[in-house]
């Protein structure tokens, strides 16, 4: 089976955000594989181990993203592709990313493409379904279970807390929700092997893409931090009197009840 995983390098969850000049400052920050993409990588490896084939992880970014690709290879992916847009693309949005990925994937005859259901930085959740639409293949988002039996694919997906059971077929793009699996940590032998696995680097030219074709459709004007919350009030006294004070504050001061 020919399996592709779309991966994004994101800020570490624990990082404190610093904004200056209307932009997030990235200097010195730790980066990770987007946590939802880790579920996608794990599932791809599991499917390959059960059905045979090859797992290729693909990302868009600059050379820094090699680190996350190596981690995916160490987890067990077979090949990695970095589409390096550093020199060609100034502003990227979901349209840009999907267009580039679809151009890369269009002649790959992928049976299964996996991605995270959302990236924890931008949080739009658009790129997966957009890629599927451009490739004219079916997609299922926020999946929590995947079973492939011959041509039939049985999926459970999370819809706002409820579990929807459905059937579809390959070729298919799915996006991973928490609960799909427990991503493995790269083992030491895995890390050693990963160093020798192929990591291909491509630029837009290699994909016959004009810079104008991938110009972003949206524009971020400003990034800012939410206003600092005033320190809250810790109530004092006996618990019953704190509780009645709280109820009256919620009614008269906060006016939410």
């Amino acid at each position: 089976m020919n399996i592709y995983v779309l991966v994004k390098r994101t800020f570490d969850t624990e990082e404190k955000l610093v904004v200056s000049g209307g932009q997030i400052q990235e200097d010195g920050a730790e980066f990770i594989i987007n946590p939802y993409d880790e579920y996608a990588i794990e599932e791809a490896i599991t499917v390959r181990d059960a059905h045979g084939g090859e797992v290729t992880v693909v990302t868009i970014g600059d050379e820094e993203a090699e680190k996350q690709l190596r981690t995916a290879l160490a987890m067990g992916a077979d090949k990695a592709v970095l589409i390096n847009t550093e020199d060609d693309v100034e502003e990227m949005d979901q349209f840009t990313a999907a267009y580039i990925l679809a151009e890369y994937l269009k002649d790959k005859e992928a049976d299964l493409i996996l991605a995270g259901n959302v990236a924890i930085d931008g949080g739009s959740g658009q790129v997966g379904p957009r890629v599927a639409d451009l490739l004219d293949i079916n997609y299922v988002t926020t999946i929590t279970s995947l079973e492939i039996e011959g041509e039939t694919v049985k999926i459970v997906r999370d819809i706002e807390g409820d579990a929807e059971e459905l059937e579809t077929s390959l070729p298919l793009l799915v996006t991973a929700q928490q609960g799909l699996n427990e991503p493995r940590y790269p083992s030491l032998p895995g890390i050693m092997k990963a160093k020798k696995k192929p990591l291909e680097e491509l630029e837009l030219d290699d994909l016959d893409i004009d810079e104008e074709d991938v110009e972003a459709k949206t524009e971020t004007i400003e990034v800012y931090l939410p206003p600092k919350k005033q320190a809250g009030r810790i109530l004092e006294g006996e618990i019953p009197s704190q509780v009645s004070e709280l109820v009256s504050l919620l009614r008269s001061e906060a006016k939410v009840i």
Partner: protein, 322 residues
Amino acid sequence: MSKKVLVLGETREGALRNVSFEAIAAAKKISGGREVVAVLLGEAVSEFGNELIAYGADRVITVEHPHLKSYTSDGYGQAFMAVVDQEQPEAIVFGHTAVGKDLSPKIASKLQTGLISDVTDIEGEGADAVFIRPIYSGKAFEKVKLKEDGVVFISVRPNNIAPLEREERSGDVSSLSVDITNLRTIIKNVVRKSAEGVDLSEAKVIIAGGRGVKSKDGFEPLQELADLLGGAVGASRGACDADYCDYSLQIGQTGKVVTPDLYIAAGISGAIQHMAGMSNSKVIVAINKDPEANIFKVADYGIVGDLFDVIPLLTEEFKKVM
């Protein structure tokens, strides 16, 4: 320049979702006075048309088909694109719901346009509208606009944009016949896991429990308070991992992002991943035995104490005044 706007209306458990009224309010801002047309897709949905008009839609178009009984991206995609072809809108508004999240990128891709997802606020009107959305799980915000002329397409996060006042108005509810074919996904079954009644992502009041809840039964006093206040129960990842409740209740970076009017965190320490899912709530109350717990840093009001003492007292106190 004013814009003609299409809004996708959504139903759940036989009623329109609040987010549909909020989407109409957003559409009104973008329209700058032009027509707002609501779209309803389903097996039998025309009965909801007038309610959308009461909340501000000028006109409603329904597409009814047996294949639209359950949502599939193919079925809804074909139906919605047929409406787009007929109406030629200059803007589209969806709710950022399970359906909205799944369908909007497909429609945006077909229209080759930008899509601004998960919008929580709109500045300006008509062509000058700028959209505000949380990034980094709510740790920061960005202001985004469409770069060039094209269809303005946004999805709005539930519970953030105030709906318009309901008033009796009249407007046309018409149906469009669409041939829905070649569905590549077959829905077999939906297993209900979320609690009956109030939807967590749309709840005005959320009572959330963490590890401090200690057991499945420990959620009962939280549920009682939630029922009294017409709210929903949520949980931290810690409580879900410990199997005190289903993952469908999880609030946080993985899990749901919520913005209720009132968020009561009971026995939740306040891991950064949890805060990412609730820190934009309007008013936060923290109840925790540990005075050093992180959750007090984002709380508007805090009570240092055992949730099993505080929550039942709180329920009693609310009963007295409501």
